[in-house]
Amino acid sequence: MAKVRGLKCRECGRPYPADPLHVCEFCFGPLEVDYDYDRLRGTLTRKAIESGPPSIWRYRALLPIEGDPAVGMHCGMTPLVKARNLARALGMREVYVKNDTVNHPSFSFKDRVVAVAITKALEFDFKVVACASTGNLANSVAAHAAEGGLQSFVFMPADLEQGKVIGTLIYSPTLVAVEGNYDEVNRLCSEIADKYRWAFVNINIRPYYAEGSKTFGYEIAEQLGWRTPQHIVVPAAGGSLVIKIWKGLKEFERLGLLSGPCAVRMHLAQAEGCGPIVTAIKENSEIIKPVKPKTIAKSLAIGNPADGYYAYKVVKGSGGHGEHASDDEIVEGMKLLASTEGIFAETAGGVTVAAAKRLIEQGRIPRDESLVLCITGNGLKTQEAVAPTLKVSLQIKPTLRSFDESMTSHGIEVTPRNLS
């Protein structure tokens, strides 16, 4: 199925073959996959998608692989939770949580992009895969490389959370802890990618890898009954996810798969300590000024976002906005999501909830409109962020009397069952 024409420069439009390339050699613009949508129109139907597997591969016609998927057979189709309790807490009528804390196999949305990237790396006959990562990508690359029988190298900042480190090492990659921040790790990886013939999923395989994020948007639309919500809040690190969710929804619209137009406002969430794209949105500046990250949301700590400009354009073009979240608000956001919906998200989820709260309070997300929150990673990976704020509720001696006394002293009221 020749659905992929090749690659195309996002800036100058110059075509390239579908090879492991990522930068236009003329204007240095990023390359992206160019599809033949006319070939897909009419053949790609709702029924065809619904009869596919309960994974991202039900959308394989819109993903840049040539053969069968090689890894990640259970990735995607995560729950879209109607979050009634959270909606009440936020003063909203209709809130949904797209819950990638339970994505397979490594509990973050990165499994979507990596499943596509590793399949593509195998198609290109690479023997080694690698990545620069803030943690979630490392987990996912190591897991999928193990499944695909590939050697893997993952490069991470040395100060990452223990959960991210253990969640990578268990798959037996070569983990390289770099004494620097993510932007320095990424810079090093660019040099390594020039020297070795490796598939760096977020460097030379990036055009293919990034396409996996479209499935986040496809699933939102399909799970809402083939329609888009009025607002989506997306966390941003490099800025790719919001672009690809938007692209996925526009593709569905173009192929006639949506009931009605794609009329969604895309909003961006970043931490105050690392929010260069949101700052640009607030300042109406198309130039993203890099920052030195300082936030507990380490998975979002990319100070020089590769896709920042395009993320800015998507948010502005859709009529959305952006908001920052302080470290305290991030923790409160994590707790609010957990205590209202039973969903333990990592710090990025706290950023999303906190930024959404600000946007609602500002009236940018009207309370009577529908909202989807993109929750992209599991809280068990970043326990350090909330551990200092959580305490054992009651500590007692192993007697009923001690329990009752403790309940009374803490003002906890419960009704004993009637024994008569």
Binding site: V23, C24, C27, F28, E286, P290, A306
Partner: protein
């Protein structure tokens, strides 16, 4: 000679200065601009720098001292 793809991010105060001209005059570096964007608030130029490694490092250090961010270009759009 080695080449580097870089993005220069200029603060507002330097947008009107001929910084790339000075870079090529003061160091043995050949700049080749591929794309650029200048707004009221900042400037962003994507270019290729060609020169010996040591000269490239010195030139980039010079730009940094002026207050210009030099970042590796990885298909960054604008």
């Amino acid at each position: 000679m080695p080449k580097r793809m870089v993005t220069l991010i200029f603060p507002q105060t330097l947008v009107t200065e001929p910084v790339i001209y000075r870079l090529s005059r003061q160091f043995k570096i050949i700049p080749n601009v591929r794309r650029a964007r200048v707004t009221e608030k900042a400037g962003e130029v994507m270019l290729e720098l060609e020169g010996e490694e040591e000269e490239l490092n010195r030139g980039i250090a010079y730009l940094n001292t002026l207050g210009i961010r030099v970042e590796p270009t990885q298909g960054k759009g604008h």
